[in-house]
């Protein structure tokens, strides 16, 4: 009884009700005046999920975070794009080449981000953008690979993503990638760790809801790499996957592992139709 009286007093003292207006907001995102597709009809393969509209994570953030992404000068992720521009033109490795030696300007990468991960016929594998960057570095340039989820890798991904900004994500899920896609889908629904949570537990069943102070999004990756205010750096898709799996009190997979490559393909395909936003700004 004494206890109840105490908590009742506490509740009165903190009179602000703890109530959230859940769900995605209705704002619209234009980056430097270019309109982004941040909500659109879900791709056909998501019919069984019950989700009919796919929504960029941008809609689940606070206004001040959202506005940071609307102007490239306010977007801290763009600093990495500048750094990667320098890297693009820097000769490295035994072949004495830079990215520019083969690809000229980074604008030649327009459309690339939108279709990765994709099948590489010659290698007979599904390749993420990071894998392709490292293939260029090691096989074409004779340079060292970037660490998969490192700063230089995230920056180079950001430079390449910017070239496709506004273009709809359009990764293939059939043909030679079908098997990998199915594996990714299975991982998406696997409840890992001592908390027994899958990607779907939060990002399919509970997007729009708050979990403590975090507003759960659909877990879309069209905005990657993502500048997170939380760690003040650009974050890769696999780095974020690792953090999520860790938070289920599970043994994570490694960035660049076949499991995360498959998961990236599957999650990317859930965003087919949303604009490439990278580098985006999130919590």
């Amino acid at each position: 009884m004494k206890y109840k009286a105490m908590t009742a007093f506490a509740a009165l003292a903190i009179s602000a009700p703890i109530a959230f207006a859940g769900g995605a907001d209705d704002d619209t995102l234009a980056i430097d005046g270019q309109e982004m597709i941040t909500k659109t009809a879900a791709p056909a393969h998501m019919e069984e999920t019950g989700i009919d509209t796919i929504i960029s994570g941008w809609h689940f953030r606070e206004d001040d975070t959202q506005s940071m992404q609307a102007d490239t000068f306010d977007n801290p992720g763009m600093i990495a794009v500048d750094q990667a521009m320098d890297a693009w033109n820097t000769v490295e490795g035994s072949a004495e080449k830079s990215c520019a030696s083969c690809h000229e300007g980074p604008e030649s990468m327009q459309g690339v981000r939108a279709v990765y991960p994709k099948w590489n016929e010659e290698a007979g594998e599904v390749r993420t953008l990071a894998m392709q960057i490292n293939d260029c570095r090691t096989n074409q340039m004779g340079a060292d690979a970037y660490k998969y989820d490192s700063g230089p890798m995230a920056a180079m991904e950001a430079l390449i993503a910017v070239q496709s900004r506004g273009m709809p994500v359009n990764v293939a899920i059939d043909g030679p990638v079908a098997e990998t896609w199915e594996k990714g889908k299975e991982l998406y629904y696997t409840r890992t760790g001592q908390l027994e949570l899958s990607c779907a537990s939060c990002h399919e069943e509970n997007y729009g809801n708050y979990i403590r102070a975090d507003h759960l999004s659909q877990g879309q990756i069209n905005g990657f790499p993502t500048y997170r205010l939380k760690n003040a750096k650009l974050n890769t898709v696999h780095g974020r996957f690792k953090g999520c799996v860790r938070d289920t009190r599970a043994e994570t997979y490694s960035p660049g592992s076949p499991e995360f490559v498959a998961l990236e393909l599957y999650v990317a395909s859930r965003g087919n139709g949303l604009s490439v936003e990278g580098p985006s700004v999130r919590n």
């Binding site: 206890y3 109840k4 908590t7 009742a8 506490a10 509740a11 003292a13 903190i14 009700p17 703890i18 109530a19 959230f20 859940g22 696997t190 409840r191 890992t192 760790g193 001592q194 908390l195 027994e196 949570l197 537990s201 939060c202 069943e205 509970n206 809801n209 708050y210 979990i211 403590r212 102070a213 759960l216 690792k242 799996v245 860790r246 938070d247 289920t248 009190r249 599970a250 043994e251 994570t252």
Partner: protein, 159 residues
């Protein structure tokens, strides 16, 4: 033999320890997922239960459930139902079962099982991202902590 006498005494003590508290693998859930007996063998402490419910490293129940009586701890989630008044419509036995392993009552629920140490996929060593051996896993809450939370939940009566 003196040695036999000592080990017999150890076995007796160990037997007592298994019976009280009830180990996670030994909990008896009824057909509805309720648990009749106190897991620790003792009564719960509601005040401590309230602390566990807001502690991020313990129950962190408010991460998913709103509880008006705990409004002094900020940011309650909305993944699960509000727990206001839950003590009016759930018995201690039901609440114990739900907190220990809600999946016994609600198949497929996203709610983690707070008194379970086996049957996980890729269990980790806490939040390190590293692998844990299943035999080393501790339940998220102890038997007494479960009882404390149950005791607190029973104080949440319809006003």
């Amino acid at each position: 033999m003196k040695l036999t006498g000592i080990s017999a005494a150890v076995v007796l003590c160990a037997t007592a320890a298994i019976a009280n508290p009830i180990a996670p693998g030994e909990v008896q859930y009824d057909e509805y997922g309720a648990v009749a007996a106190s897991l620790s063998g003792s009564d719960g402490d509601a005040a401590n239960g309230a602390k566990i419910m807001v502690n991020r490293g313990k129950g962190n129940c408010v991460a998913c459930h709103a509880v008006t009586a705990l409004n002094d701890a900020p940011f309650h989630g909305e993944v699960g139902p509000s727990l206001d008044g839950v003590g009016s419509y759930r018995s201690a036995e039901e609440l114990r079962g739900i907190v220990a392993n809600a999946k016994k009552m609600f198949e497929g629920t996203v709610m983690p099982s707070f008194y379970k140490t086996s049957g996980f996929i890729r269990p980790g060593d806490g939040y390190t991202g590293k692998a844990a051996k299943e035999e080393d896993l501790m339940p998220i809450l102890t038997a007494q902590e479960i009882e404390d939370v149950v005791a607190f939940l029973l104080t949440l009566q319809d006003s």
